[in-house]
């Protein structure tokens, strides 16, 4: 029995030691760090590191849930807030900003943010409201073997994507070589946003919530989306990004515009389909209509600190998050995300996202009514996709649906 205890102590000692060192490195004396986060692996990497800051006097608790969006506003509204940190991204920060639940971070950036790059700071009118640590966007994943067999160079525009699809079909390799996440609802709206941004389209009149999508760019986007569906499996309106992955790794489709954050599972040499992973080519999202902006909105993921927590907890939270996003963390998990962290050496798998950013992709709009527009797009475009109405009518429906919800949310009269 004594021997067992001795053994246990000897074995546990390094563990205790390591966590003590980590806690010491964090440099937090006391406080409580409570994190609300989406359940994505890459966010987990940062959070697992931040947890090492826990000690006798510092409490670190994380809640990783895909339902984070629906609870964040209520959880941060109460005083003291249930969470001191909210992991946010381009579309989940605005609801917190709109409700005034976010604490300005400039003071902490100055004290503890020596390792932050200036472009990691999300600023509104010069005030830092959030810190970004990873970027994400959709980009092309292609079957290199099929393209090279047919002598096609990797497509860069949607016209070339369609040409490649036709060639693959005519060669009898696949009846439906394309697939996209077109599930009615959020995904379908998202594809419209991607393409519309690449044509330089504006969703709203500047400075107001008045929609401006019923125009020739909007029609052009819809016509392209419709043309693409000819080469997609017939149930395209039910496909999510996860279904896309399955179809691709099943060898059912050859070209997809997939999320960069899912690159790992597509390229995994020990994954579902190593022979497909091996031959997969990554390229920026295609461009559209002679423009040179890739057709994929750019997203960032990061964190923000709640207003309704004590200064002690806020400071502890900021320092724990800084510890979680050190450059060594990014370089130990280079494939987990396209990190924006200083000193990150991007591997090949991050090329798709980085090239999309560098070739001029546009960020997903960060205003308080974009969510309503996105929802209206998702539910009103289906009739057009199924050939039941004209593109103009569909866009008019989107604007009407958006106006209805914007009115009941107080954005329009």
């Amino acid at each position: 029995m004594t021997r067992l205890c001795a053994l246990a102590t000897v074995c546990l000692l390094p563990l205790i030691f390591v966590s003590n060192i980590a806690a010491a490195e964090c440099g937090i004396e006391s406080g409580s760090v409570r994190v609300l986060s989406n359940d994505i692996d890459s966010l987990g990497v940062v959070l697992n590191e931040a947890r090492h800051c826990a000690s006798d006097t510092v409490n670190v608790r994380t809640n990783r849930t895909t339902e984070h969006k629906s609870i964040q506003v209520s959880a941060l509204t109460i005083d003291p807030a249930i969470y001191s940190v909210a992991m946010v991204s381009t579309n989940t920060l605005p609801p917190l900003l709109s409700a005034g639940l976010v604490r300005p971070l400039d003071e902490y950036v100055e004290k503890y943010g020596q390792n932050l790059e200036s472009d990691q700071l999300i600023k509104i009118n010069g005030k830092t409201v959030a810190i970004a640590f990873m970027a994400n966007s959709q980009h092309l994943f292609m079957r290199g073997d099929i393209l090279s067999d047919l002598g096609i160079s990797p497509p860069r525009t949607y016209q070339e994507v369609l040409d490649a699809a036709r060639a693959i079909r005519e060669a009898g390799i696949m009846q439906y070589p394309l697939a996209a996440a077109y599930e009615a609802g959020w995904y379908l709206g998202n594809e419209f946003v991607n393409n519309y941004l690449s044509l330089g389209g504006q969703f709203f009149e500047p400075g107001s919530a008045e929609p401006t999508i019923n125009n020739s760019e909007g029609v052009q986007v819809l016509e392209l989306m419709k043309e693409m569906t000819e080469y997609m499996p017939p149930e395209y309106l039910t496909l999510t990004a996860d279904d896309l992955k399955k179809l691709y790794l099943d060898g059912k489709v050859a070209i997809i515009n997939q999320w960069g954050s899912m690159v790992n599972s597509h390229l995994d040499p020990n994954g579902a389909a190593p022979e497909i992973s091996r031959t997969t080519l990554l390229a920026p999202a295609p461009t559209l209509g002679g423009h040179d902006i890739p057709a994929a909105a750019l997203w960032w993921d990061g964190f923000t600190i709640a207003k309704n927590v004590s200064d002690e907890d806020a400071e502890a939270s900021f320092r724990a998050m800084m510890y979680g996003m050190r450059s060594s963390v990014a370089n130990e998990h280079p494939n987990a995300a396209t990190w924006l962290i200083k000193g990150y050496e991007a591997p090949e798998s991050a090329r798709g996202v980085l090239d999309t950013i560098n070739s001029g992709g546009r960020p997903y709009p960060m205003n308080p009514f974009m969510g309503l527009m996105h929802a209206a797009l998702g539910s009103e475009l289906t009739d057009y996709m199924q050939g039941q109405e004209s593109a103009e009518q569909a866009l008019a429906d989107v604007e009407a649906a958006y106006r209805t919800s914007a009115r009941s949310s107080g954005f329009l009269d």
Binding site: K69, S70, P94, P95, L97, S98, G100, L121, I122, K123, I124, N125, G126, A132, A135, Q175, E183, A184, W186, F204, P206, G207, S208, A209, P234, E235, Y236, L237, T238, L298, W300, L340, I357, R362, P363, M366, N367, P368, F369, G371, L372, H374, A375, S379, T382, D383, M385, Q386, Q388, E389, D397, A401, T404, S405, R407, S408, S409, G410, F411, D413
Partner: protein, 348 residues
């Protein structure tokens, strides 16, 4: 029972009903008359990893002052009920004025979200309810006639669809009808059409959802009818046999009239159940082709980032009104039966 003891007997349940039914319903009705405050907007410069942009934001302080003045929101009267997301009165007016053919009018009305949801909800209720009852009745008759030893296992198996949670049941079926799934692939083979997809066309999606609904709901009428079959007076059946009634005539003139009161009860319960169809639409990702009133409420409350409480409340109230309208014929029938049995109108 004196009024006093009746009242004290009922008090706890009345209290619970008030707390858990009247109050929430009341608050939903109140909520449906309000919208959110007007938001004060201002332009700001947003900077982030992908550069700087002029973006519209909410002026939080100015908006908070408005909220403090009137915490409930902005009074909108029946505005939400009449807007495009609900009864769409203005849109209906335009449609009736500007269209000529009935077909075009119908398709333009169907283009409005509330009527689209209502159309499927009603179609589902009126097809799935009677068909589930017929299937349930046939199964009950069949089970009633099989050897006693087999009855236990057969009853258990017949109940399974009802035990499976609708979301799980529909998801399972959704995967099976995939063009790679066992049902989807078989259908493609039978009809020799590689393009056939139950998920793609609106008509096939409706059919799939209704067939699923029948499959899921049939066990309930089965159990009720099966129980009813056990109470059929054997004397009547025997005398019918002696009078030379065929099997079909016995069912037609003895069994069915005997089970009729049960049918009213079943219709009532199943209609209420079917009218709130929701999970299968999520499970089948059927949003593009079929939506229901319950789904509309869910969609308002489960937007990606925004929640439309007023809109969801109005749809809820409209749903309740629809259910009441739907049940009136059945309730009237029950009331007439009750009056026939108790001509003086007293319950004792």
């Amino acid at each position: 029972m004196t009024h006093r003891s009746f009242f004290s007997f009922m008090l706890p349940s009345l209290l619970a009903m008030f707390l858990f039914i009247v109050l929430p319903t009341g608050s939903i009705v109140v909520q449906s008359f309000y919208t959110e405050h007007d938001k004060v907007l201002s332009l700001a410069e947003d900077c982030g990893p992908f550069g700087c942009e002029q973006t519209t934001h909410i002026d939080v302080e100015a908006t908070e002052n408005l909220i403090e003045e009137a915490p409930l929101g902005k009074f909108n009267g029946l505005g939400t009920y009449l807007d495009r997301g609900h009864l769409a009165v203005d849109e209906l007016g335009t449609i009736f004025e500007s269209t000529e053919s009935i077909g075009e009018t119908v398709s333009r009305i169907y283009n409005l979200p509330f009527y689209k949801a209502l159309a499927f909800t009603i179609a589902y209720t009126f097809l799935a309810t009677p068909l589930a009852m017929i299937v349930g009745f046939l199964v009950a008759m069949a089970v009633n006639n099989i050897p006693k030893k087999l009855k236990g296992p057969v009853i258990f198996l017949s109940l399974l669809p009802y035990i499976v949670t609708p979301l799980i049941g529909s998801l399972t079926l959704f995967w099976m009808i995939n063009s790679n799934g066992i049902i989807g692939a078989t259908l493609q083979m039978i009809f020799n059409d590689p393009e056939l997809s139950l998920k793609a066309s609106p008509v096939l999606t409706w059919v799939t959802l209704i067939v699923y609904g029948i499959w899921h709901m049939a066990p309930f009428p089965f159990v009720v009818y099966y129980a009813g079959l056990q109470t059929i007076p054997q004397d009547t059946l025997e005398s019918a046999m002696i009078d030379g009634a065929s099997k079909w005539e016995r069912i037609r003139y003895v069994v069915i009239p005997h089970l009729f009161p049960l049918t009213t009860f079943l219709a009532l319960v199943l209609m209420m159940d079917n009218f709130r169809i929701f999970e299968p639409i999520v499970g089948f990702s059927a949003e593009a082709n079929a939506t229901s009133l319950s789904w509309s409420i869910y969609n308002d409350l489960n937007g990606q980032v925004d929640k439309l409480y007023g809109s969801a409340a109005s749809t809820s109230v409209l749903t309740v009104i629809c259910v009441v309208i739907l049940l009136i014929p059945v309730l009237m029938r029950t009331w007439r039966n009750f009056k026939q049995k108790n001509p003086d109108g007293s319950a004792s």
